[in-house]
Protein backbone atom coordinates (compact mmCIF):
# COMPACT_ATOMS: atom_id res chain seq x y z
CA UNK A 1 0.00 0.00 0.00
CA UNK A 2 1.35 3.46 -0.79
CA UNK A 3 2.61 5.26 2.24
CA UNK A 4 0.19 8.14 1.82
CA UNK A 5 -2.92 5.97 1.80
CA UNK A 6 -1.62 4.06 4.77
CA UNK A 7 -1.15 7.29 6.63
CA UNK A 8 -4.62 8.51 5.73
CA UNK A 9 -6.06 5.22 6.91
CA UNK A 10 -4.07 5.42 10.11
CA UNK A 11 -5.18 8.98 10.75
CA UNK A 12 -8.82 8.18 10.13
CA UNK A 13 -8.54 5.19 12.43
CA UNK A 14 -6.96 7.36 15.10
CA UNK A 15 -9.61 10.04 14.81
CA UNK A 16 -12.29 7.36 14.88
CA UNK A 17 -10.73 5.96 18.01
CA UNK A 18 -10.47 9.39 19.55
CA UNK A 19 -14.06 10.20 18.82
CA UNK A 20 -15.77 6.98 19.70
CA UNK A 21 -13.38 5.45 22.16
CA UNK A 22 -12.12 8.62 23.77
CA UNK A 23 -14.51 8.33 26.66
CA UNK A 24 -14.72 4.56 26.90
CA UNK A 25 -10.94 4.68 27.40
CA UNK A 26 -11.59 5.87 30.91
CA UNK A 27 -14.38 3.35 31.21
CA UNK A 28 -11.99 0.71 29.92
CA UNK A 29 -9.74 1.51 32.85
CA UNK A 30 -12.56 0.30 35.07
CA UNK A 31 -11.41 -3.28 34.74
CA UNK A 32 -8.03 -2.30 36.12
CA UNK A 33 -9.83 -0.96 39.17
CA UNK A 34 -11.49 -4.30 39.89
CA UNK A 35 -8.83 -5.62 42.32
CA UNK A 36 -8.96 -2.32 44.17
CA UNK A 37 -12.74 -2.49 44.19
CA UNK A 38 -12.62 -6.01 45.63
CA UNK A 39 -10.21 -4.90 48.33
CA UNK A 40 -12.25 -1.87 49.25
CA UNK A 41 -15.38 -4.05 49.16
CA UNK A 42 -13.90 -6.29 51.85
CA UNK A 43 -13.18 -3.27 54.02
CA UNK A 44 -16.52 -1.75 53.17
CA UNK A 45 -18.51 -4.74 54.48
CA UNK A 46 -17.37 -3.96 58.00
CA UNK A 47 -18.17 -0.27 57.84
CA UNK A 48 -21.53 1.13 58.84
CA UNK A 49 -22.83 1.53 55.31
CA UNK A 50 -21.52 -1.84 54.25
CA UNK A 51 -23.07 -3.80 57.07
CA UNK A 52 -26.34 -1.96 56.47
CA UNK A 53 -26.34 -2.88 52.79
CA UNK A 54 -25.53 -6.51 53.52
CA UNK A 55 -28.32 -6.63 56.11
CA UNK A 56 -30.78 -5.20 53.56
CA UNK A 57 -29.66 -7.75 50.98
CA UNK A 58 -30.06 -10.64 53.38
CA UNK A 59 -33.46 -9.27 54.28
CA UNK A 60 -34.56 -9.21 50.64
CA UNK A 61 -33.31 -12.72 50.03
CA UNK A 62 -35.16 -13.97 53.11
CA UNK A 63 -38.48 -12.55 51.92
CA UNK A 64 -39.60 -15.63 49.97
CA UNK A 65 -38.81 -17.81 53.00
CA UNK A 66 -41.11 -15.73 55.16
CA UNK A 67 -43.96 -15.35 52.73
CA UNK A 68 -45.02 -17.33 49.70
CA UNK A 69 -47.81 -14.88 48.95
CA UNK A 70 -47.83 -14.06 45.23
CA UNK A 71 -49.32 -10.66 45.89
CA UNK A 72 -46.50 -9.50 48.13
CA UNK A 73 -43.86 -10.88 45.79
CA UNK A 74 -45.46 -9.10 42.82
CA UNK A 75 -45.38 -5.83 44.74
CA UNK A 76 -41.73 -6.42 45.61
CA UNK A 77 -40.90 -7.19 41.99
CA UNK A 78 -42.35 -3.87 40.87
CA UNK A 79 -40.32 -2.20 43.62
CA UNK A 80 -37.12 -3.80 42.29
CA UNK A 81 -37.88 -2.76 38.70
CA UNK A 82 -38.72 0.81 39.62
CA UNK A 83 -35.63 1.14 41.77
CA UNK A 84 -33.47 0.44 38.68
CA UNK A 85 -35.52 2.96 36.72
CA UNK A 86 -35.20 5.62 39.42
CA UNK A 87 -31.45 5.02 39.75
CA UNK A 88 -30.99 5.50 36.01
CA UNK A 89 -32.77 8.85 36.29
CA UNK A 90 -30.58 9.72 39.25
CA UNK A 91 -27.44 9.14 37.19
CA UNK A 92 -28.62 11.48 34.45
CA UNK A 93 -30.25 14.19 36.55
CA UNK A 94 -28.65 13.86 39.98
CA UNK A 95 -25.09 13.27 38.81
CA UNK A 96 -24.86 14.88 35.38
CA UNK A 97 -27.44 17.59 35.99
CA UNK A 98 -29.41 16.83 32.82
CA UNK A 99 -32.97 16.88 34.12
CA UNK A 100 -35.04 14.65 31.88
CA UNK A 101 -38.82 14.49 31.96
CA UNK A 102 -38.83 12.01 29.13
CA UNK A 103 -37.35 9.03 30.86
CA UNK A 104 -40.48 7.02 30.10
CA UNK A 105 -39.34 7.09 26.46
CA UNK A 106 -36.35 4.87 27.31
CA UNK A 107 -38.54 2.78 29.59
CA UNK A 108 -41.28 2.25 27.04
CA UNK A 109 -39.13 1.80 23.97
CA UNK A 110 -37.10 -0.94 25.65
CA UNK A 111 -40.30 -2.49 26.99
CA UNK A 112 -41.84 -2.61 23.52
CA UNK A 113 -38.64 -3.98 21.97
CA UNK A 114 -38.36 -6.73 24.56
CA UNK A 115 -42.03 -7.61 24.27
CA UNK A 116 -41.81 -7.71 20.47
CA UNK A 117 -38.71 -9.92 20.51
CA UNK A 118 -40.09 -12.32 23.08
CA UNK A 119 -43.46 -12.72 21.46
CA UNK A 120 -42.89 -12.33 17.73
CA UNK A 121 -39.32 -13.57 17.38
CA UNK A 122 -39.37 -15.97 20.27
CA UNK A 123 -36.09 -14.87 21.80
CA UNK A 124 -35.14 -15.76 25.36
CA UNK A 125 -36.15 -13.01 27.78
CA UNK A 126 -32.55 -12.25 28.85
CA UNK A 127 -31.48 -11.50 25.27
CA UNK A 128 -34.64 -9.52 24.62
CA UNK A 129 -33.94 -7.49 27.73
CA UNK A 130 -30.38 -6.73 26.64
CA UNK A 131 -31.45 -5.86 23.08
CA UNK A 132 -34.28 -3.72 24.48
CA UNK A 133 -31.77 -1.85 26.63
CA UNK A 134 -29.46 -1.43 23.63
CA UNK A 135 -32.31 0.12 21.67
CA UNK A 136 -32.78 2.51 24.57
CA UNK A 137 -29.06 3.36 24.37
CA UNK A 138 -29.40 4.15 20.67
CA UNK A 139 -32.45 6.21 21.44
CA UNK A 140 -30.45 8.00 24.14
CA UNK A 141 -27.94 8.91 21.45
CA UNK A 142 -30.70 10.15 19.14
CA UNK A 143 -32.35 12.19 21.91
CA UNK A 144 -29.05 13.33 23.29
CA UNK A 145 -27.65 14.96 20.17
CA UNK A 146 -30.42 17.57 19.67
CA UNK A 147 -31.26 17.93 23.37
CA UNK A 148 -27.71 18.62 24.56
CA UNK A 149 -27.94 22.16 23.29
CA UNK A 150 -30.82 22.74 25.68
CA UNK A 151 -30.36 23.59 29.32
CA UNK A 152 -32.43 23.43 32.49
CA UNK A 153 -36.19 23.53 32.00
CA UNK A 154 -35.84 23.56 28.21
CA UNK A 155 -33.99 20.28 28.32
CA UNK A 156 -36.73 18.83 30.51
CA UNK A 157 -39.38 19.93 28.01
CA UNK A 158 -37.34 18.75 25.04
CA UNK A 159 -36.95 15.26 26.46
CA UNK A 160 -40.61 15.20 27.40
CA UNK A 161 -41.47 15.97 23.78
CA UNK A 162 -39.71 12.78 22.73
CA UNK A 163 -41.78 10.64 25.08
CA UNK A 164 -44.97 12.34 23.81
CA UNK A 165 -43.94 11.68 20.21
CA UNK A 166 -43.39 8.01 21.00
CA UNK A 167 -46.70 7.80 22.88
CA UNK A 168 -48.60 9.12 19.87
CA UNK A 169 -46.60 6.99 17.43
CA UNK A 170 -47.38 3.82 19.32
CA UNK A 171 -51.01 4.86 19.81
CA UNK A 172 -51.57 5.43 16.11
CA UNK A 173 -53.36 2.75 14.16
CA UNK A 174 -50.89 2.79 11.26
CA UNK A 175 -48.59 0.23 12.82
CA UNK A 176 -51.38 -1.87 14.33
CA UNK A 177 -50.00 -5.16 13.03
CA UNK A 178 -46.65 -4.86 14.74
CA UNK A 179 -47.26 -2.55 17.67
CA UNK A 180 -50.88 -3.35 18.33
CA UNK A 181 -52.00 0.26 18.56
CA UNK A 182 -53.89 1.02 21.79
CA UNK A 183 -53.91 -2.62 22.89
CA UNK A 184 -50.16 -2.92 22.65
CA UNK A 185 -48.54 -6.32 22.79
CA UNK A 186 -49.91 -8.81 25.28
CA UNK A 187 -49.72 -12.47 26.12
CA UNK A 188 -45.97 -12.66 26.46
CA UNK A 189 -44.50 -15.93 27.65
CA UNK A 190 -43.72 -16.02 31.36
CA UNK A 191 -40.19 -15.29 32.59
CA UNK A 192 -40.41 -18.17 35.04
CA UNK A 193 -43.15 -20.46 36.23
CA UNK A 194 -42.63 -19.65 39.88
CA UNK A 195 -43.04 -16.09 41.12
CA UNK A 196 -40.14 -16.55 43.50
CA UNK A 197 -37.77 -17.57 40.71
CA UNK A 198 -38.80 -14.46 38.81
CA UNK A 199 -38.21 -12.43 41.94
CA UNK A 200 -34.68 -13.75 42.22
CA UNK A 201 -33.91 -13.19 38.54
CA UNK A 202 -34.95 -9.56 38.85
CA UNK A 203 -33.20 -9.16 42.19
CA UNK A 204 -29.92 -10.34 40.66
CA UNK A 205 -30.31 -7.99 37.68
CA UNK A 206 -31.09 -5.14 40.05
CA UNK A 207 -28.05 -5.82 42.23
CA UNK A 208 -25.77 -6.00 39.17
CA UNK A 209 -27.25 -2.73 37.87
CA UNK A 210 -26.69 -0.97 41.17
CA UNK A 211 -23.13 -2.23 41.48
CA UNK A 212 -22.33 -1.02 37.95
CA UNK A 213 -24.01 2.34 38.55
CA UNK A 214 -22.17 2.83 41.84
CA UNK A 215 -18.82 1.94 40.27
CA UNK A 216 -19.47 4.40 37.41
CA UNK A 217 -20.46 7.14 39.82
CA UNK A 218 -17.37 6.62 41.98
CA UNK A 219 -15.00 6.40 38.99
CA UNK A 220 -13.31 9.24 37.14
CA UNK A 221 -16.21 9.36 34.72
CA UNK A 222 -18.50 10.02 37.68
CA UNK A 223 -16.27 12.87 38.81
CA UNK A 224 -16.54 14.46 35.38
CA UNK A 225 -20.34 13.98 35.42
CA UNK A 226 -20.56 15.80 38.73
CA UNK A 227 -18.35 18.60 37.42
CA UNK A 228 -20.70 19.08 34.46
CA UNK A 229 -23.65 19.21 36.86
CA UNK A 230 -22.03 21.80 39.12
CA UNK A 231 -20.75 24.16 36.45
CA UNK A 232 -20.72 23.23 32.80
CA UNK A 233 -18.76 26.31 31.73
CA UNK A 234 -16.06 25.65 34.30
CA UNK A 235 -15.86 22.01 33.18
CA UNK A 236 -15.37 23.27 29.64
CA UNK A 237 -12.64 25.63 30.88
CA UNK A 238 -11.00 22.63 32.57
CA UNK A 239 -10.62 20.98 29.18
CA UNK A 240 -13.53 18.54 29.46
CA UNK A 241 -15.47 17.71 26.29
CA UNK A 242 -18.83 18.23 27.97
CA UNK A 243 -20.88 17.16 24.93
CA UNK A 244 -19.22 13.77 24.82
CA UNK A 245 -19.68 13.14 28.53
CA UNK A 246 -23.29 14.31 28.51
CA UNK A 247 -23.99 11.96 25.63
CA UNK A 248 -22.30 9.16 27.54
CA UNK A 249 -24.47 9.91 30.53
CA UNK A 250 -27.59 9.84 28.35
CA UNK A 251 -26.56 6.47 26.99
CA UNK A 252 -25.71 4.85 30.32
CA UNK A 253 -28.89 6.18 31.85
CA UNK A 254 -30.84 5.00 28.81
CA UNK A 255 -29.35 1.54 29.18
CA UNK A 256 -30.50 1.05 32.75
CA UNK A 257 -33.87 2.68 32.12
CA UNK A 258 -34.11 0.22 29.23
CA UNK A 259 -33.29 -2.72 31.48
CA UNK A 260 -36.03 -1.58 33.84
CA UNK A 261 -38.51 -1.05 31.00
CA UNK A 262 -37.83 -4.47 29.49
CA UNK A 263 -38.25 -6.13 32.87
CA UNK A 264 -41.47 -4.21 33.44
CA UNK A 265 -42.95 -5.44 30.15
CA UNK A 266 -41.69 -8.99 30.67
CA UNK A 267 -43.00 -9.07 34.21
CA UNK A 268 -46.43 -7.69 33.28
CA UNK A 269 -46.45 -9.99 30.24
CA UNK A 270 -48.00 -7.11 28.34
CA UNK A 271 -47.15 -3.62 27.20
CA UNK A 272 -49.30 -0.79 25.89
CA UNK A 273 -48.68 2.82 24.88
CA UNK A 274 -49.48 4.16 28.35
CA UNK A 275 -45.95 3.07 29.28
CA UNK A 276 -44.78 6.23 27.47
CA UNK A 277 -46.85 8.49 29.69
CA UNK A 278 -45.00 11.26 31.46
CA UNK A 279 -46.39 9.73 34.66
CA UNK A 280 -43.70 7.04 34.50
CA UNK A 281 -40.98 9.69 34.23
CA UNK A 282 -42.44 11.36 37.29
CA UNK A 283 -42.48 8.06 39.19
CA UNK A 284 -38.72 7.97 38.78
CA UNK A 285 -38.37 11.62 39.80
CA UNK A 286 -40.60 11.21 42.86
CA UNK A 287 -38.74 8.11 43.98
CA UNK A 288 -35.37 9.80 43.66
CA UNK A 289 -36.69 12.89 45.46
CA UNK A 290 -37.99 10.73 48.28
CA UNK A 291 -34.81 8.72 48.65
CA UNK A 292 -32.30 11.46 48.00
CA UNK A 293 -30.92 12.92 44.82
CA UNK A 294 -27.37 12.11 43.68
CA UNK A 295 -27.05 9.07 45.92
CA UNK A 296 -27.94 6.14 43.58
CA UNK A 297 -28.86 3.99 46.60
CA UNK A 298 -31.48 6.59 47.51
CA UNK A 299 -33.42 5.25 44.52
CA UNK A 300 -33.92 1.95 46.36
CA UNK A 301 -35.28 3.70 49.44
CA UNK A 302 -37.51 5.96 47.35
CA UNK A 303 -38.86 3.09 45.27
CA UNK A 304 -39.51 1.06 48.42
CA UNK A 305 -41.44 3.89 50.05
CA UNK A 306 -43.44 4.66 46.96
CA UNK A 307 -44.14 1.16 45.62
CA UNK A 308 -44.48 -0.75 48.86
CA UNK A 309 -45.04 1.43 51.92
CA UNK A 310 -47.27 4.20 50.55
CA UNK A 311 -49.34 2.10 48.16
CA UNK A 312 -49.91 -0.62 50.76
CA UNK A 313 -50.62 1.82 53.56
CA UNK A 314 -53.37 3.55 51.66
CA UNK A 315 -54.80 0.55 49.87
CA UNK A 316 -57.59 0.06 52.44
CA UNK A 317 -58.62 3.68 51.87
CA UNK A 318 -59.11 3.06 48.16
CA UNK A 319 -61.21 0.01 48.94
CA UNK A 320 -63.61 2.04 51.08
CA UNK A 321 -65.35 3.62 48.14
CA UNK A 322 -64.88 5.48 44.91
CA UNK A 323 -64.64 8.79 46.76
CA UNK A 324 -61.51 7.58 48.48
CA UNK A 325 -60.00 6.18 45.30
CA UNK A 326 -57.75 9.17 44.80
CA UNK A 327 -56.87 9.56 48.46
CA UNK A 328 -53.64 7.58 48.22
CA UNK A 329 -52.42 9.81 45.41
CA UNK A 330 -53.42 12.89 47.36
CA UNK A 331 -51.66 11.73 50.49
CA UNK A 332 -48.52 10.81 48.52
CA UNK A 333 -48.56 14.28 47.04
CA UNK A 334 -48.87 15.86 50.48
CA UNK A 335 -46.03 13.71 51.77
CA UNK A 336 -43.92 14.78 48.80
CA UNK A 337 -44.57 18.46 49.49
CA UNK A 338 -43.66 17.99 53.15
CA UNK A 339 -40.51 16.15 52.09
CA UNK A 340 -39.44 18.92 49.75
CA UNK A 341 -39.99 21.48 52.51
CA UNK A 342 -38.27 19.67 55.36
CA UNK A 343 -35.91 17.15 53.81
CA UNK A 344 -34.58 18.55 50.56
CA UNK A 345 -31.86 15.95 50.46
CA UNK A 346 -34.32 13.09 50.65
CA UNK A 347 -34.70 10.82 53.60
CA UNK A 348 -31.74 8.59 52.94
CA UNK A 349 -29.03 10.91 54.26
CA UNK A 350 -30.72 12.04 57.50
CA UNK A 351 -31.97 8.52 58.15
CA UNK A 352 -28.46 7.16 57.66
CA UNK A 353 -27.07 9.72 60.09
CA UNK A 354 -29.51 8.68 62.82
CA UNK A 355 -28.87 5.02 62.13
CA UNK A 356 -25.15 5.65 62.27
CA UNK A 357 -25.48 7.18 65.73
CA UNK A 358 -27.40 4.11 66.79
CA UNK A 359 -24.76 1.85 65.23
CA UNK A 360 -21.98 3.67 67.05
CA UNK A 361 -24.02 3.41 70.25
CA UNK A 362 -24.42 -0.36 69.75
CA UNK A 363 -20.69 -0.76 69.24
CA UNK A 364 -20.07 1.36 72.33
CA UNK A 365 -18.18 4.11 70.54
Amino acid sequence: MPKKIRRVLYNSRESFKNFFLGVPKSTRNLYKEIPNQVKSFKEWIFTFRGSLTILCLIGTILVPLITQDDYIITILISFLIFSIFAASWDLLAGYTGQTSFGHSAFFGLAGYTAAFLVKMVGLHWIFSMIIGASVAVLFGLIVGIPCLRLKGPYLALGTQAFSLILFNLFMSGDLKDILGSTEGISGLPVMAEEHIIKFFYILIIMIISFVILTVIVKSNVGTVFKAIRDDELAADASGINTTKYKLLSFMISGFFAGIAGSLYALNMRAVNPSIFLVLYSFYAIIMVALGGIATISGAIVGAFIYCVVLSELFKPLGAMGTIFLYFPTLISAIILVIMIRFAEQGILKPALEHLREFYDFLLGR
Binding site: G22, S26, N220, T223, V224, K226, A227, R229, D230, D231, L233, A234, A235, D236, A237, S238, G239, I240, N241, T242, A294
Partner: protein
Protein backbone atom coordinates in the same frame (compact mmCIF):
# COMPACT_ATOMS: atom_id res chain seq x y z
CA UNK B 1 11.62 31.21 22.80
CA UNK B 2 9.46 32.64 20.06
CA UNK B 3 5.95 33.95 19.92
CA UNK B 4 3.43 31.82 21.80
CA UNK B 5 0.31 33.94 21.44
CA UNK B 6 -0.35 36.25 18.54
CA UNK B 7 -3.59 38.24 18.38
CA UNK B 8 -4.29 40.17 15.19
CA UNK B 9 -7.00 42.78 14.52
CA UNK B 10 -9.37 41.21 17.02
CA UNK B 11 -12.85 42.77 16.88
CA UNK B 12 -15.96 41.90 18.85
CA UNK B 13 -19.30 43.68 18.63
CA UNK B 14 -22.25 43.24 20.97
CA UNK B 15 -25.14 44.76 19.06
CA UNK B 16 -24.15 48.38 18.54
CA UNK B 17 -21.31 48.29 21.09
CA UNK B 18 -17.81 47.49 19.92
CA UNK B 19 -16.31 45.85 22.98
CA UNK B 20 -12.98 45.03 21.35
CA UNK B 21 -11.83 47.10 18.42
CA UNK B 22 -8.99 46.06 16.12
CA UNK B 23 -6.90 44.76 18.99
CA UNK B 24 -3.46 43.28 18.22
CA UNK B 25 -0.58 42.12 20.38
CA UNK B 26 2.04 39.38 20.76
CA UNK B 27 3.30 37.43 23.74
CA UNK B 28 6.64 35.63 23.81
CA UNK B 29 7.07 32.19 25.32
CA UNK B 30 7.80 32.38 29.05
CA UNK B 31 6.81 36.03 29.28
CA UNK B 32 4.87 37.58 32.14
CA UNK B 33 2.48 40.18 30.75
CA UNK B 34 -0.25 42.30 32.26
CA UNK B 35 -3.33 43.68 30.54
CA UNK B 36 -4.67 46.84 32.13
CA UNK B 37 -7.53 49.17 31.48
CA UNK B 38 -10.32 50.82 33.46
CA UNK B 39 -13.57 48.98 34.18
CA UNK B 40 -15.38 48.14 30.97
CA UNK B 41 -12.28 48.48 28.78
CA UNK B 42 -12.88 45.03 27.29
CA UNK B 43 -10.24 43.00 29.13
CA UNK B 44 -12.53 40.13 29.99
CA UNK B 45 -13.93 40.12 26.45
CA UNK B 46 -10.39 39.76 25.10
CA UNK B 47 -9.92 36.77 27.40
CA UNK B 48 -13.25 35.27 26.36
CA UNK B 49 -12.28 35.63 22.72
CA UNK B 50 -8.84 34.09 23.17
CA UNK B 51 -10.13 31.17 25.23
CA UNK B 52 -12.94 30.42 22.79
CA UNK B 53 -15.91 31.29 24.98
CA UNK B 54 -16.94 33.92 22.46
CA UNK B 55 -16.41 34.08 18.71
CA UNK B 56 -14.73 37.22 17.34
CA UNK B 57 -16.41 39.20 14.55
CA UNK B 58 -13.04 39.70 12.89
CA UNK B 59 -9.39 39.01 13.47
CA UNK B 60 -7.34 35.94 14.22
CA UNK B 61 -5.72 34.32 17.24
CA UNK B 62 -2.65 32.14 16.78
CA UNK B 63 -1.40 30.00 19.61
CA UNK B 64 1.94 28.24 19.29
CA UNK B 65 1.86 28.75 15.52
CA UNK B 66 -1.65 27.31 15.21
CA UNK B 67 -4.80 29.20 14.31
CA UNK B 68 -7.20 28.69 17.21
CA UNK B 69 -9.88 31.17 16.14
CA UNK B 70 -13.26 29.48 16.37
CA UNK B 71 -12.11 26.40 18.27
CA UNK B 72 -14.18 25.23 21.23
CA UNK B 73 -12.97 26.16 24.75
CA UNK B 74 -12.08 22.60 25.73
CA UNK B 75 -10.05 22.12 22.55
CA UNK B 76 -8.08 25.28 23.28
CA UNK B 77 -7.50 24.14 26.87
CA UNK B 78 -6.16 20.83 25.61
CA UNK B 79 -3.67 22.68 23.43
CA UNK B 80 -2.32 24.35 26.57
CA UNK B 81 -4.07 27.71 26.75
CA UNK B 82 -6.00 27.90 30.00
CA UNK B 83 -7.93 30.76 31.58
CA UNK B 84 -9.39 31.49 34.99
CA UNK B 85 -12.56 33.44 35.66
CA UNK B 86 -13.00 36.80 37.30
CA UNK B 87 -15.98 35.50 39.25
CA UNK B 88 -14.70 32.26 40.71
CA UNK B 89 -16.26 29.21 39.10
CA UNK B 90 -15.77 26.10 41.18
CA UNK B 91 -17.67 22.83 41.32
CA UNK B 92 -19.61 23.64 44.47
CA UNK B 93 -20.71 20.23 45.65
CA UNK B 94 -17.50 18.35 45.00
CA UNK B 95 -14.46 18.25 47.25
CA UNK B 96 -11.56 20.63 46.61
CA UNK B 97 -9.46 17.65 45.53
CA UNK B 98 -12.09 16.55 43.01
CA UNK B 99 -12.24 20.11 41.69
CA UNK B 100 -8.61 19.82 40.66
CA UNK B 101 -9.01 16.18 39.58
CA UNK B 102 -11.53 17.24 36.95
CA UNK B 103 -8.86 19.38 35.31
CA UNK B 104 -6.44 16.44 35.54
CA UNK B 105 -9.04 14.26 33.80
CA UNK B 106 -8.99 16.38 30.64
CA UNK B 107 -6.96 14.69 27.88
CA UNK B 108 -4.05 17.10 28.40
CA UNK B 109 -4.13 16.86 32.18
CA UNK B 110 -4.36 13.08 31.98
CA UNK B 111 -1.20 12.93 29.90
CA UNK B 112 0.64 14.99 32.51
CA UNK B 113 -0.77 12.98 35.41
CA UNK B 114 -0.12 9.62 33.78
CA UNK B 115 3.03 8.78 35.71
CA UNK B 116 1.88 9.57 39.23
CA UNK B 117 -1.84 8.91 38.96
CA UNK B 118 -4.66 11.42 38.96
CA UNK B 119 -5.21 11.62 42.73
CA UNK B 120 -1.51 11.98 43.49
CA UNK B 121 -1.08 14.61 40.81
CA UNK B 122 -4.09 16.59 42.00
CA UNK B 123 -2.96 16.55 45.62
CA UNK B 124 0.50 17.66 44.55
CA UNK B 125 -1.08 20.68 42.86
CA UNK B 126 -3.20 21.32 45.94
CA UNK B 127 -0.14 21.36 48.18
CA UNK B 128 1.51 23.77 45.74
CA UNK B 129 -1.39 26.20 45.96
CA UNK B 130 -1.60 25.64 49.72
CA UNK B 131 -4.99 23.99 49.95
CA UNK B 132 -3.95 20.46 50.83
CA UNK B 133 -5.35 20.80 54.36
CA UNK B 134 -8.74 21.57 52.89
CA UNK B 135 -8.72 18.85 50.21
CA UNK B 136 -11.84 17.14 51.58
CA UNK B 137 -13.97 20.27 51.99
CA UNK B 138 -16.47 21.45 49.42
CA UNK B 139 -15.57 24.87 47.93
CA UNK B 140 -18.82 26.45 49.20
CA UNK B 141 -17.38 26.75 52.70
CA UNK B 142 -14.01 28.20 51.64
CA UNK B 143 -13.19 31.92 51.96
CA UNK B 144 -12.76 33.99 48.84
CA UNK B 145 -8.96 33.95 48.92
CA UNK B 146 -8.88 30.16 48.99
CA UNK B 147 -11.32 30.02 46.08
CA UNK B 148 -8.97 32.18 44.03
CA UNK B 149 -6.15 29.79 44.79
CA UNK B 150 -8.37 26.86 43.90
CA UNK B 151 -9.16 28.58 40.61
CA UNK B 152 -5.44 28.75 39.83
CA UNK B 153 -5.01 25.15 40.98
CA UNK B 154 -7.77 24.04 38.64
CA UNK B 155 -6.05 25.80 35.76
CA UNK B 156 -2.70 24.29 36.71
CA UNK B 157 -4.25 20.82 36.66
CA UNK B 158 -4.47 20.90 32.88
CA UNK B 159 -0.71 21.49 32.61
CA UNK B 160 -0.94 24.83 30.78
CA UNK B 161 1.65 26.43 28.54
CA UNK B 162 0.04 29.82 28.94
CA UNK B 163 -2.22 30.87 31.75
CA UNK B 164 -4.75 33.68 31.35
CA UNK B 165 -5.61 35.06 34.79
CA UNK B 166 -8.67 37.28 34.84
CA UNK B 167 -8.48 39.70 37.80
CA UNK B 168 -6.98 37.21 40.26
CA UNK B 169 -6.67 39.90 42.94
CA UNK B 170 -10.15 41.39 42.96
CA UNK B 171 -11.81 41.44 46.35
CA UNK B 172 -8.84 40.05 48.25
CA UNK B 173 -7.18 41.33 51.40
CA UNK B 174 -3.56 42.48 51.21
CA UNK B 175 -2.31 39.24 52.75
CA UNK B 176 -4.31 37.07 50.38
CA UNK B 177 -3.00 39.12 47.47
CA UNK B 178 0.54 38.39 48.62
CA UNK B 179 -0.23 34.65 48.57
CA UNK B 180 -1.52 34.84 45.01
CA UNK B 181 1.46 36.99 43.98
CA UNK B 182 3.87 34.35 45.24
CA UNK B 183 1.88 31.59 43.57
CA UNK B 184 1.82 33.29 40.19
CA UNK B 185 5.54 34.11 40.42
CA UNK B 186 6.30 30.48 41.13
CA UNK B 187 4.27 29.37 38.12
CA UNK B 188 6.08 31.92 35.99
CA UNK B 189 9.44 30.65 37.21
CA UNK B 190 8.42 27.15 36.22
CA UNK B 191 8.20 28.37 32.63
CA UNK B 192 4.47 28.97 32.30
CA UNK B 193 3.68 32.05 30.22
CA UNK B 194 1.37 34.30 32.21
CA UNK B 195 -1.10 36.83 30.91
CA UNK B 196 -2.88 38.66 33.66
CA UNK B 197 -5.53 41.38 33.84
CA UNK B 198 -6.26 43.95 36.48
CA UNK B 199 -7.95 47.28 36.66
CA UNK B 200 -5.89 48.57 39.56
CA UNK B 201 -2.47 49.56 38.25
CA UNK B 202 -0.68 49.35 41.59
CA UNK B 203 -1.35 45.61 41.94
CA UNK B 204 0.25 44.77 38.65
CA UNK B 205 3.05 47.35 38.73
CA UNK B 206 5.41 45.44 40.99
CA UNK B 207 4.50 42.06 39.51
CA UNK B 208 4.88 42.21 35.75
CA UNK B 209 7.77 43.44 33.60
CA UNK B 210 5.53 44.30 30.65
CA UNK B 211 2.05 45.81 30.43
CA UNK B 212 -0.44 46.16 27.59
CA UNK B 213 -2.92 48.98 28.13
CA UNK B 214 -6.37 49.12 26.57
CA UNK B 215 -9.22 51.58 26.75
CA UNK B 216 -12.70 51.33 25.27
CA UNK B 217 -11.74 48.21 23.39
CA UNK B 218 -8.70 49.73 21.73
CA UNK B 219 -5.01 49.03 22.07
CA UNK B 220 -3.23 52.03 23.59
CA UNK B 221 0.31 51.21 24.51
CA UNK B 222 2.66 48.42 25.40
CA UNK B 223 5.82 48.51 27.50
CA UNK B 224 7.33 48.47 30.99
CA UNK B 225 4.83 49.44 33.73
CA UNK B 226 6.44 52.77 34.60
CA UNK B 227 6.36 53.90 30.99
CA UNK B 228 2.77 52.80 30.50
CA UNK B 229 1.66 54.49 33.71
CA UNK B 230 2.94 57.81 32.44
CA UNK B 231 1.37 57.43 29.02
CA UNK B 232 -0.97 60.33 28.27
CA UNK B 233 -4.01 58.31 27.20
CA UNK B 234 -3.63 55.87 30.07
CA UNK B 235 -3.61 58.73 32.54
CA UNK B 236 -6.62 60.22 30.83
CA UNK B 237 -8.45 56.94 30.90
CA UNK B 238 -7.88 56.51 34.62
CA UNK B 239 -8.01 60.08 35.87
CA UNK B 240 -10.13 61.88 33.30
CA UNK B 241 -9.33 64.27 30.51
CA UNK B 242 -7.38 67.47 31.17
CA UNK B 243 -6.93 66.65 34.83
CA UNK B 244 -4.76 68.98 36.85
CA UNK B 245 -2.78 66.09 38.34
CA UNK B 246 -1.47 64.91 35.00
Amino acid sequence: MGVILEVKNLTKKFGGLTAVNDFSFEIQRGEFVGLIGPNGAGKTTVFNLISGFEKPNAGSIRFDGMDITGLKPFQIVNLGLVRTFQLVRSFHYMSVLDNVSVACLSPRGKKAAEKVGIDQYASRILSEVGLIDKARFPPVILPHGDLRRLEIGKAAGTNPQILLLDEPFSGLSYEEQEHIHALIRRLSNEGVTIFITGHVLRELMNLVPRVIAMHQGKFITDGPPQEVANHKIVLEAYLGRGGGIA
